[in-house]
Symmetry: C2
Subunit: 421 residues, 2 copies
């Protein structure tokens, strides 16, 4: 690794560390002013950003990226407007810093409160979507955290132009540019240095991207990670499900958008469901253009069904493909989920409250739903405003990661001279 | 590393993983029955436990352990009674599992709640104190977590005897013994295997012990850690402090018990404090038998004061020694703390509310106190019942780690057929 890269990255770390205590005590008003000024700058600099994006798109053509990557990378007026809206939305959310999470008084008169504080310095490592620059930078700023953003090499120019708007917002609000820094080089080694924590400068790393990135982070990170693994999500249609509801939810969970982590990948159907339910569900999926990979029972229903292999139960297709299995009631459904799920999101469709309660209590996933689509797995749909991702970890944050999840806390204790006996 | 050790540890991991979903859904009554039965077993087996402890003490004599280690290792009737009480206390605490942490309804009718769930499988790695076996095992059980306990080799026989009582409690309550397992061997390699997570079986590691252990954990852990670093705690006596209160709190913070992580290690005194205040504080410490290492100003006060070196500001003495420095008001005190503190616990003594507020807001430590002793840094004193330690991390848990901090959460979403537009 070059000495100059190391020096560059250490300097980013030092600047973030230095600004972190300042940022922790900035008022909500000043943070929101920076966010709104950044939104204005984004709208004003549209032409500049779109031309930077064109350069990235040209470079991408030469590198023969996939169509999906192209789509993620591409910016247009509507997408820029959405980014500006996102900044306005985050500005309108309550300040997560300084919230009193709990308070109580001890028999000796000590008044104790648990107060939310920022995590400190957050490193965000992401891939091609340029809007992550805005979302991650804005969420970190609003939650009082210094951010070090490391976007993918594909979005080099777009990322620089968008980051320029965030810095402009900070400047107009009288905040140091070091609040939201961007790694200005594309060396892969920069990621390694961030995962080691930049000599203690980084408190938490948030990766956003595909499996390759996530696995590298898991392997190399020496600092805490807010992690986002697979979304191998399940819909279980119980014997007591309303058929029309089951069909509507299954189609929506699978096909509304197939590329999101909350998309359903496996459908489990109770063997004791009324005759015809399984056939209707499978037929509706096939007719909607979804490939179905089924177990032996499912295979017999329709010639378009192919045979599911063992690997299918563990696959996150992110495509118009679904695995379908017949199970002996809710307990076998839960056993299947416990064995194959990535603990992201699972839904039960049933009119039986006792069965639903059993499922909601016992299925150990970040999000469990009753009579609703798995595609609701989203910070916005949860009413949390923007999200930086969905955590499948159990530690610190689980489920959608919004402003509150980017805070820690401290205990403030007020006394009148108490000493401990 | 021997294949048999690896196989043994993997088997502990598999058993813990298998029991974890069962334990997550055990009722409070059943968990408390196990805890109370374990307390009874501890009292019934006193003779057996004390004779096991005698064997450990004999072995320790041959290994030439320090007096402090001897004291930690030693059991007697009173300490056994305290352990039984601790079990009863934990049984009397509310169940942290299933608490509804938040709930709200979305405009589309979805009812969302965030519900506390266990972390899963917790590995606890500790040193000589046999009572940690009881506290850690009981806290994990009550919070629905499967525990794998790895005590120090010094307490091999005591630990086995005490663990036997916990298992007896589980048996009497009809719970599997695998809920609280103990590593039955003393190989150092067992710790390494736990830090790697036992093939994904361990969700979190909690180390309790000296610097050597903590540093090894930081270096080798591949799973999340609830960490307990140094307690380099500060008392700042402001110009507006009441002198009598400042003396009482300083003596208590330093000398009540010198070996605990909440003991004060540095006293900062405002240069603008009234004439005589600094002299009274330093004299009181010296007269109470505390060694004082001071800066130039402090050195001139009393011939018993020795000169503090730069290293003293960063030293956790855990002894009757204190470093004393004169600072230019609260801002220089906060700058000193930001530079040297381990972010554990700091206290300001002042009658000035604005100065206190500034200190409480800006000092970034797990616990900040106003007009109270740093020795209150303790889960029991916070009213949290037992604690498994005090975290100086910002991630997941900060400050005293009790039952609530040993839980994660999941989102339960109840709908009536909603699909996402």
């Amino acid at each position: 690794m070059s000495a100059s890269l190391t020096a560059l990255m250490q300097e980013l770390g030092r600047a973030a560390r230095a600004v972190s205590p300042v940022l922790a005590n900035v008022s909500r008003e000043q943070k929101d002013r920076a966010l709104r000024a950044a939104a204005t700058a984004l709208q004003r600099d549209k032409k500049n950003i779109l031309s930077a994006n064109t350069r990235d798109m040209h470079a991408a053509e030469e590198r023969d990226l996939s169509a999906a990557m192209f789509d993620r990378l591409r910016l247009d007026n509507a997408r820029l407007e959405a980014m500006a809206c996102s900044l306005e939305d985050i500005a309108s959310l309550a300040d997560p810093v300084g919230r009193v999470l709990a308070e109580w008084t001890r028999p000796n008169g000590l008044r104790i409160s648990r107060v939310a504080v920022p995590l400190g310095v957050i490193g965000i490592i992401y891939e091609s979507r340029p809007n992550v620059t805005v979302d991650a930078g804005a969420l970190c700023l609003k939650s009082g955290n210094a951010a070090i953003l490391r976007g993918g090499s594909e979005s080099l120019h777009s990322g620089a132009a968008i980051h320029g708007c965030l810095v402009e917002g900070l400047r107009e609000a009288g905040l140091p540019a070091a609040c939201v820094q961007r790694v200005p080089v594309t060396d892969r080694e920069a990621v390694g240095l961030m995962l080691e924590g930049l000599d203690g400068a980084i408190d938490v790393v948030v990766p956003r991207g595909g499996k390759g990135l996530i696995e590298r982070v898991r392997r190399e990170a020496r600092v805490p990670v807010i992690g986002h693994l697979d979304g191998n999500c399940h819909v279980y249609v119980d014997r007591d499900a309303d058929l029309a509801m089951a069909v509507a939810i299954t189609l929506n969970a699978k096909l509304r958008r197939t590329g999101v982590c909350g998309a359903a990948e496996t459908l489990l159907v109770d063997r004791s469901a009324p005759k015809g339910h399984l056939e209707t569900l499978v037929g509706a999926l096939l007719d909607a253009g979804c490939a179905v990979r089924g177990d032996d029972t499912v295979k017999k229903i329709d010639s378009r069904v192919t045979v599911a292999s063992e690997a299918d139960w563990g696959t996150e297709y992110l495509d118009a493909i679904i695995a379908v299995r017949v199970v002996e009631g809710v307990d076998e459904a839960m056993a299947h989920i416990a064995c194959h799920s990535s603990s992201h999101t699972e839904s039960i469709i049933t009119a039986n409250d006792a069965t639903a309660r059993r499922f909601l209590e016992r299925v150990d996933s970040a999000i469990v739903l009753h009579n609703a689509s798995t595609q609701f797995a989203d910070g916005g749909e949860f009413g949390m405003g923007a999200e930086i991702g969905i955590s499948t970890d159990r530690f610190h944050a689980r489920g959608p990661v919004g402003l509150e999840q980017l805070t820690s806390y401290k205990y403030v204790v007020r006394g009148s001279g108490q000493v401990r006996p």
